[in-house]
């Protein structure tokens, strides 16, 4: 087990041991390395001005992901390459094609968000393939620009061209891959510095043992929430146990019609497999956070966090998902919905952790999810409705319905389900089931929505599910697959 962090900053190796393990990558860059191209816009992973790219070895080749430097802790760079806007120029000083495209398209005005956009675009470019608007929006939803209105940036993304193979320097995939292999992958790590203990185990057994030793430890996965405890609440975390070095937690498998998602699987890594089986759940994941957040955040974290407005639990509960919990040598499996006991309280013993979630796929195709928020992309949900309805010969055979944002936990709509099951799927049943929702939910008012709106929209989402399951020809979606589109959506002109 190492006691120092090793990573590549561009193409320079760094070995660091005497640093607060909860120092953010952004503060490290700006304060320790004086690389000031990466900016702080919000310190909560929402604006993207701090976007950097992480290079990692994946099956021997380089894989690049954009993340928010402002909420990632420095030790999570272990075994990786950190690329910032300063690393993009060619050896002769020539700008990177993404940088050139941005200048030529007039993609910067005040320029403060620009390095973050450039890094997101570099990561998008590295994925390859044709750049359509949907891909561009998804890659850039986590980068806020207040000046341009995005048009020139979209144009730059369309014109940036494919990623080019480079020889030498931080962007030379082959040589960097060799260097990372030499440094060693994200191996076991134990740091004690500045009064904070930080552990990065590499196996589930080691994790289990560490948690036995430190049952109060803060578990760190994508840092998309834990990072904010440091940057926003200014809390000191100790000890911290990082889950990202445990390969066994990152497995996503499908066996016998069941999807098994390790607690360390990121949203982005799960997106494609889930979208294939449950299109609506795929669209829901696409709208969780931003690309940077989905590259870091995990489905396990979204569950274990216990938030009443996490997006995954309602959808997974509607699919009758089960949770595998581990403590020491022992595992237990519970229905996901039983995990959420009350606000801030989950069915989790000291030293116990979420190991994986099991999702039956047989009903996944019919799942309907509706996420309601003020903004379509990268917003926290006001109300999430997940509907798993089985209709045969016009009659509801089964119904599992779960809401987020309607109670202190993700909550099944049991009275509503009871009003549906066995009934003919018509407007009379719908009206009764809508009334049941009014009876069983007492949502709160806050800055995202009022209680009245939450209840109205929850009832209306049931109506939407009714229309979608009974009148397939009716258009009901503003975004996502099958959304209303104009024939004139031609890109427009700017002259």
């Amino acid at each position: 087990m190492r006691d120092e962090i090793r990573f590549l900053l561009g193409d320079e190796e760094r070995r660091i041991s005497d640093i607060d393990p909860t120092m953010t990558v952004l503060n490290y860059l700006r304060r320790e390395e004086r690389l000031t191209g990466t900016k702080e816009g919000c310190a909560e992973g929402d604006c993207g001005a701090c976007t950097v790219v992480l290079g990692e070895l994946s099956d021997g080749a380089m894989r690049y992901r954009a993340v928010n430097a402002c909420i990632q802790f420095l030790p999570t760079l272990n075994g990786k390459q950190l690329l910032t806007v300063e690393h993009l120029k060619a050896a002769d000083g020539a700008p990177h094609p993404v940088q050139t495209a941005m200048v030529e398209a007039h993609g910067s005005q005040c320029g403060f968000c620009t390095p973050g956009f450039v890094m997101s675009m570099v990561a998008l470019q590295a994925e390859g393939g044709a750049m359509d608007r949907g891909r561009i929006d998804d890659a850039l939803a986590g980068n806020l620009c207040r000046c341009t209105g995005y048009g020139p940036i979209i144009e730059a993304a369309r014109k940036m061209g494919p990623s080019q193979a480079l020889k030498g320097g931080p962007l030379d995939r082959d040589s960097i891959a060799e260097r990372l292999a030499a440094i060693g992958p994200d191996g076991a790590l134990a740091l004690v510095s500045d009064g904070t203990r930080y552990f990065a185990p590499t196996s589930i057994d080691d994790l289990s043992q560490l948690l036995g030793d430190y049952p109060e430890a803060c578990l760190l996965a994508g840092a998309t929430d834990v990072g904010l405890w440091v940057t926003k609440q200014h809390r000191r975390l100790d000890p911290v146990i990082y889950l990202g070095a445990i390969d066994d937690l990152k497995r996503l498998t499908i066996t016998n019609g069941e999807l098994e998602i390790g607690a360390g699987v990121t949203y982005e890594d799960a997106l494609e497999a889930i979208a294939e089986h449950a299109p609506d759940l795929g669209e829901l994941i696409r709208r969780i956070g931003s690309r940077q957040i989905r590259n870091a955040g995990t489905i396990g974290g979204n569950i274990a966090n216990g938030s009443p407005i996490g997006d995954m639990p309602p959808a997974l509960i509607a699919l009758d998902a089960r949770l595998v919990l581990r403590r020491g040598e022992n595992s237990r499996e519970i229905p996901l919905e039983d995990f959420f006991i009350a606000y801030g309280k989950q069915d989790l013993e000291p030293g116990e952790f979420v190991e994986k979630v099991r999702v039956p796929l047989s009903q996944a195709g019919r799942l309907r999810c509706y996420k309601i928020s003020k903004r379509f992309d990268q917003d926290i949900t006001a109300v999430l409705g997940a509907f798993n309805l089985s209709v045969t010969n016009g009659r509801l055979q089964s119904a599992r319905i779960c809401f987020g944002g309607m109670a202190a936990t993700p909550k099944r709509a049991r009275a509503c389900e009871a009003a549906l099951i066995g009934k003919p799927w018509n407007e009379i049943t719908l009206a009764a089931a809508r009334d049941a929702l009014t009876e069983e939910f007492q949502p709160i008012s806050d800055m995202r929505a009022s209680a009245d709106y939450r209840l109205s929209v929850a009832r209306n989402l049931l109506t939407k599910a009714f229309i979608e399951t009974t009148q397939a020809e009716t258009q009901t979606r503003l975004i996502g697959p099958g959304a209303l589109a104009l024939d004139s959506a031609d890109g427009g002109t700017r002259v």
Binding site: T36, P95, S108, F112, R146, R448, L484, G492
Partner: protein, 779 residues
């Protein structure tokens, strides 16, 4: 000794009207452009953090900071009693903006004291060690409450023309209504930041992210109790401003300067995003009532508007901001008999401030709502009612403030845009769609903009510039305007390049600095290029005239025979490079440095009688927006936008285009997703991007057409006949909520006005949908 330069191009590189990228573009994309927080910190630089009040209104019973003073890393703690000068950073002499709370707190988030420490973390930790007790007092939080209690920061003000009372009485039709309009956070990506470096004699240099270096200078000097000449303020660029760094930068500059002067060490104060959103002012939210009388043809015969703005705890710029709302309550429409009254409400919330449009957008939202109300009542297309009420020619060309509109082009823009955007055909398509679509409804709206250009406070319409020509022919350009991303610096540089007929790369753009050009006005009111361009032109012309006189003398020709061509100067039969001429002039002891000054002509305004000519000219534009709404959830999506905007003869069309489309999207955010939410204790709950939602990439519709009006030309003698472009396009986005309300009205066959307040969040849209359905079922 002269460089043998050969210039082949007949035209310089980088003159006016060229489509040049932002001068810092290449540095933006590489991260090499320095913002204040990127400047190398002097050794031992301190970091300043302010403690915030958790009470909206109260008396400070106890403030004991002794433990904070002893905390690790702390260099000094600043309270109101530590201020050597005046504890005030108010911009207009109202003396109601304490730098640090003294005795009474006026809003949640008001700075109580500040800590300067080695690190920002140490400063934050020390803040928690202070003992603070505040006895709560009754807090006024809303406009309604302030109106009921007559709590105002300034007196109400009225504009009046004609006989509105009798016109309302006699009009064939009469309608009354109310609209609520939310505020808006600037959400510049770079938060407020100042770095103060102490000098000798108690002087201080402040690097400050501000649109108004002169005012920051004055306020820092005032707080320090020093003359203005002890303080120098510099800003190379801001990471966005939008009005939020006009008056709101002073407080942090003053606290940093105070810490620097007290400790003899450099001190930086950078607000993190939450502090920035909690502690600095925003766009004013408004409540407006209207009472309109009109004919069967939809032409307005009489109108009374009563507006109230939430100003927060102090006046700040609310006087002029609310005035501008009144000045724009006509938008493009002739109002024969009109009375516009506005109240400036004092509330226990952060003091609201300038924001792109400066009250104008709120005034325009009101009149556009009036227009739509008339259209719905008469069963007319709102565009038709707009057309019938436009300003037009003698008899229909005087504003509510008695200024004659001489440059109206709104009618032409509307005609061209409605044709190019196929307004009529699309409305028909939408009606067909809506008839068949159960859940999703589409809507369309065309709204015009007429925006008055000039500071309505007449004396502010002045600007200065300073130009040096060095002996190698390179030029140093400085002026009082500040660069916040809008492209002011490149535009002014293009003006100077054109005047000297030299390539743009010979001109060095330099940071705005109060030591170079003094007593400047804020870079605000869209006036940056108009005024600083003219001032720089004047400075360049002075030097050019000296060069012409010298060349005539040197080569024995008439001055009229001296001509400047691309990088060359010809004097009779002699031709030499600009650099060569400059060198010769230097040797002949010709002064190669000059200041330039500009004062906007023709304007005057008497606020007592609310009459005069506050604006040099008007900027115009129009937009067509199409949306779809989900009648089950209230969600909406902008499907298509078509814009035609008049920037006169553009100094730089790509820069102007960026202002137009960027302004539109910012306005769209204000009117749709950007909701500021205060709880009932006056706490702002939306103080970070996780909860406050500005538009993202995906919110820009795929069909987005922006056209700069080809026929545009300023009738006034502005800089190269261009028009101001900073603010006007924001108001093109008023077409967005009108397209939404059009979609909602479709539920009533277009007969009922949607009672839609701003911003049109899903919640407000759904409420308006349900309200429209309820009214429809009872009629």
């Amino acid at each position: 000794m002269f460089e043998a330069q050969t210039f082949t191009s007949a035209r310089i590189q980088g003159g006016v009207r060229e489509k040049l990228p932002h001068d810092s573009g290449a540095k933006h994309v590489t991260g090499e452009a320095f913002y204040i927080d990127d400047i190398v910190e002097p050794l031992g630089c301190l970091h300043v953090v302010a403690a915030k009040s958790t009470i909206a209104h109260g008396r400070i019973i106890k403030l004991n900071v002794s433990q904070a003073r002893e905390a690790p890393g702390v260099a000094c703690v600043l309270t109101a009693t530590d201020i050597p000068g005046q504890n005030d950073v108010s911009p207009t002499g109202t003396n109601d903006d304490p730098c640090l709370a003294d005795g009474v707190v006026h809003f949640q988030g008001q700075p109580l004291f500040a800590v300067a420490a080695e690190t920002i973390e140490q400063a934050r930790a020390a803040i928690g060690l202070a003992e603070v007790e505040i006895e709560p007092l009754d807090a006024i939080l809303t406009i309604e409450d302030a109106l009921a209690k007559k709590s105002f920061v300034l007196d109400p003000h009225t504009m009046r023309r004609g006989e509105p009372d009798s016109a309302l009485e006699t009009a064939p039709k009469r309608l009354k209504g109310r609209i609520e309009i939310g505020g808006q956070d600037h959400f510049y990506l770079e938060g407020q930041v100042s770095l103060a470096i102490p000098g000798e004699d108690g002087d201080v240099l402040v690097h400050c992210s501000t649109q108004h270096p002169s005012e920051v200078q004055h306020n820092v000097a005032k707080v320090l109790g020093r003359p203005d000449n002890a303080v120098t303020v510099e800003v190379r660029r801001m990471g966005g401003g939008f009005g939020g760094k006009e008056t709101q930068a002073s407080q942090w500059a003053a606290l940093a300067a105070l810490a620097a002067v007290k400790t003899g060490r450099a001190a930086k104060m950078r607000l993190d995003r939450d502090d920035d959103m909690i502690m600095t002012g925003k766009r004013h939210d408004f409540l407006a009532d209207y009472d309109v009388g009109f004919g069967e043809d939809g032409v307005i015969q009489g109108l009374a508007i009563d507006m109230a703005a939430r100003c927060g705890f102090s006046a700040d710029l609310s006087g002029a901001i609310v005035d501008r709302a009144m000045f724009h309550a006509d938008n493009c429409y002739y109002l024969d008999n009109v009375e516009i009254t506005a109240h400036r409400c004092r509330t226990n919330t952060v003091s609201n401030t300038a924001f792109r449009g400066f009250g104008g957008p709120q005034g325009m939202v009101v009149i556009e709502r009036v227009i739509e109300a008339i259209a719905r009542a008469l069963g007319l297309d709102p565009l038709e009612v707009r057309r019938r009420n436009l300003y037009g020619g003698p008899g229909r060309d005087v504003t509510p403030y008695h200024m004659t509109v001489e440059d109206n082009v709104a009618d032409q823009l509307i005609d061209e845009l409605s044709a190019s955007a196929r307004y009529v055909e699309r409305r028909a398509e939408i009606e067909t769609f809506n008839a068949k679509s159960l859940i999703l409804k589409r809507g369309i709206a065309l709204t015009p903009v007429k925006f008055g250009i000039s500071f309505t406070t007449t004396f502010l319409n002045q600007a200065g510039a300073l130009i040096h020509v060095y002996t190698d022919g390179s030029v140093h350009l400085n002026h009082g305007g500040t660069e916040m991303g809008q492209g002011l610096f490149i535009k002014v540089a293009q003006v100077v390049a054109e005047e000297f007929q030299i390539d743009l790369d010979r001109i060095k753009i330099s940071a705005t600095n109060t030591g170079k050009v003094p007593n400047t006005s804020a870079t605000a009111a869209s006036s940056g290029s108009d005024m600083n361009g003219m001032a720089a032109l004047a400075a360049a012309r002075t030097i050019r005239e000296r060069l012409v006189a010298f060349a005539a003398r040197r080569f024995g020709v008439a001055e009229s025979d001296v001509t400047f061509r691309a990088n060359r100067v010809r004097a009779g039969d002699h031709e030499l490079s600009f650099a060569e001429l400059v060198k010769l002039a230097y040797l002949d002891r010709v002064q190669l440095s000059a200041t330039g000054f500009y004062r906007t002509p023709k304007i005057q305004y008497d606020r007592e009688t609310a009459s005069g000519r506050p604006f040099y000219y008007f900027a115009y534009g129009a937009a067509v927006t199409e949306v779809a709404i989900d009648t089950l959830t209230g969600e909406s999506k902008v499907l298509a936008v078509d814009i035609l905007h008049d920037v006169g003869k553009s100094l730089n069309p790509v820069i102007d285009l960026g202002q137009v489309e960027g302004g539109f999207i910012q306005g769209m955010g204000w009117l749709t997703t950007e909701e500021l939410f205060w709880n009932n204790e006056g706490r702002l709950a939306t103080h970070a991007p996780s909860t406050y939602k500005i538009p993202t990439c995906g919110d820009r519709p795929e069909h987005f057409t922006v056209t700069l009006w080809e026929r545009g030309e300023n009738v006034e003698e502005t800089i190269h006949r261009s028009k101001a472009v900073g603010e006007p396009p924001l108001m093109l986005a008023i077409s967005v909520p009108h397209a939404i309300s059009d979609a909602i009205s479709s539920l009533s066959g277009g007969r009922l006005l949607a009672n839609l307040d701003m911003p049109a969040t899903p919640e407000r849209v759904l409420a308006a949908v349900e309200d429209t359905r309820a009214r429809e079922s009872t009629t």
